[in-house]
Amino acid sequence: MRDLFIEIWESIRRNKVRTCLTGLAVAWGIFMLIVLLGAGNGLLNAFMGDSDDFATNTMNVFPGVTSKPYDGLKQGRRIRMTEQDMEMLRQPAFADHVDKVSTQATQGGYAMTYGRRYFRNIVLTGCMPDVEKVDRIQMHAGRFINERDMKSRRKVAVITHLHAKNFLSGSMDYDRLLGKRIKVGNLSFVIVGIRHGAENEDDRAVYIPYSTYKHLFSLGNRIDELNISFHDLETEAEAQAFEDEIRASLNAAHRVAPDDKRAFWIWNRFTQSIQMEKGRSLLITALWIIGLFTLVSGIVGVSNIMLITVKERTHEFGIRKALGARPGNILKLIVTESILITAFFGYIGMLLGMIACKVLDLTVGQSKVELFGESFKMLENPTVGLSTAIGATVVLIIAGTVAGIFPAMKAAKVKPIEALRAE
């Protein structure tokens, strides 16, 4: 092995400039691949956010307006969902997939005050305890709304840590707020928990028990939405079938045409996340392809150089063959040289690409763009992971082999007598 590397080193040393120029093409190819993938990841991270924020096995149903006349009722009828719909979906007939059925209601535009501190435009949300799991709510202090709050319609509230920080004048000692009273509008609540609120989203809702909300706002039987969590759905098709089943039951219960898709709006986070994942992998695949095509020019360059090398060294290979070099020895020599050149310069390109990603992160990644009055990050963490680095390494080794194999076969095939005659 060591002899092989010494031989290759000798060959490379004699053609420094040529080897470096070719290597540059390979380095550039890998550099582009890494930067493209890094920037692509950054874009995806910035626009899609962390999809881990929500449980994906949930489905939200909102009432709509019928689009077809049916069963003696004319079209354009507004659907009103009631707690009976919740009860229906809790029946054993749906137990194969349905986990929990809950609802929530919101009302915005409240002022929230604590002592002399206050917030405007607070959204008050009446919710059931399941929300904690479905929306993956993180608690900083205290607890979330529980069943007993629901049962006895307690006037308790869960606020975000951003509210809490403000109330505590910047302190993080959230426990001090537990049990304290706040006013939302002209209603008074006891703080039982501090949850994590997202920094750059409109996530400023104050949660109170749904039963309390219903009582305070006299909702009666009417509900605004249905939140269904489910289990044992693996594929997009299964999830779609389940969605259709829910829709059919709701349509039937509300005397809506079976094929009317506008009476209920169903937001299926599962299929959505699958589709998002599809879109994501499509974009990444596209970036890989673009990057690989850039790399191809580098590979062609290496192949070309190896061809020239083989031509120049034909006489030498003739001597080696006369002395007993088997075709395999010659093949190995050329292919290994090709792989070494590709891998060495490829790694330089990869390293520079990763540095470029880091620079991108520190410059563009920190800036924000104003869009529709809201600010977005352009890029979020535009780097490539270990798997990409490993993938790129595999690509490099394959590329080196491909670049070297044809020149090597040419060198191995030449008859010793002809090779000896060459000059």
Binding site: R2, D3, E10, R14, E316, G318, I319, R320, K321, A322, L323, G324, A325, R326, P327, G328, N329, K415, P416, I417, L420
Partner: protein, 240 residues
């Protein structure tokens, strides 16, 4: 019988067929010193290439040390060349970017001999050639005679059955030619190495014990030259 050729024919087909060897029968014993003489175009180089398994032949049979050398794969012929044949070329054919000792080591490298043992063996042969001080020099730093002695060391290192020398003095001046031929003669006399020299110089051929004259692809005559009086210029001279 070390070498046994029976009715060997060879035709080159570059556009129009060229019948180079027209039925060669030749036998060479172990320990012989044979020269093959002929004008250019007589087929002597082709014969040498076939003897050295560098080229194949169309008809007949060639046995080397009891093995039939015919229709071998590149891999097999490379192995046979490595183990049984040592080459000495007119233009030395040393690898320019390798030092003398590395050049001598090369055949052992293809046998998979370890670095250390390879180096030791190569140094021993260079010493025998009187080139110990030149071991780490590159070929372009050496004279023609020194280069040819490195090549001879390289040819000997695998203890081959035969040494095939193709115009070994062709690129050397007369004084160095005498030295190289003396060296080959000594190897034959003292170590019993079988040597076949191809040449068109009668003085060089005269060093051998047996001279095979080739003309137009056929063996014209095989001359017993143990008295070394073949050359018109007499014994102990090499006319350049």
């Amino acid at each position: 019988m070390l070498i046994e050729l029976k009715g060997v024919h060879k035709t080159y087909d570059n556009g129009q067929p060229l019948h180079v060897l027209k039925g060669i029968d030749l036998e060479i014993e172990k320990g012989e010193f044979v020269s093959i003489m002929g004008a250019s175009g007589s087929g002597k180089s082709t014969l040498l290439n076939i003897l050295g398994i560098l080229d194949n032949y169309d008809e007949g049979e060639y046995h080397l040390a009891g093995k039939l050398i015919k229709n071998l794969s590149e891999r097999e012929s490379a192995t046979y060349r490595n183990e049984m044949i040592g080459f000495v070329f007119q233009s030395f054919n040393l690898i320019g970017f390798k030092t003398a000792v590395e050049n001598v080591e090369l055949p052992l490298f293809y046998q998979g001999v370890s670095r250390h043992r390879r180096h030791e063996a190569a140094m021993a042969y260079l010493e025998k050639m009187g080139l110990t001080d030149w071991a780490s020099h590159y070929p372009n730093e050496m004279s023609g005679g020194q280069k040819q002695r490195v090549a001879i060391a390289r040819a000997l290192i695998t203890h081959p059955e035969i040494i095939l020398a193709d115009e070994p003095t062709g690129a050397l001046d007369s004084k160095t030619s005498v030295e190289v031929m003396d060296l080959l003669t000594r190897l034959n006399r003292e170590d019993g190495v079988t040597i076949i020299v191809v040449t068109h110089e009668s003085g060089v051929a005269n060093c051998a014990d047996k001279i095979v004259h080739i003309k137009d692809g056929l063996i014209e005559k095989i001359e017993d030259n143990r008295q070394h009086h073949s050359s018109v210029f007499g014994a102990d001279t090499i006319m350049k």
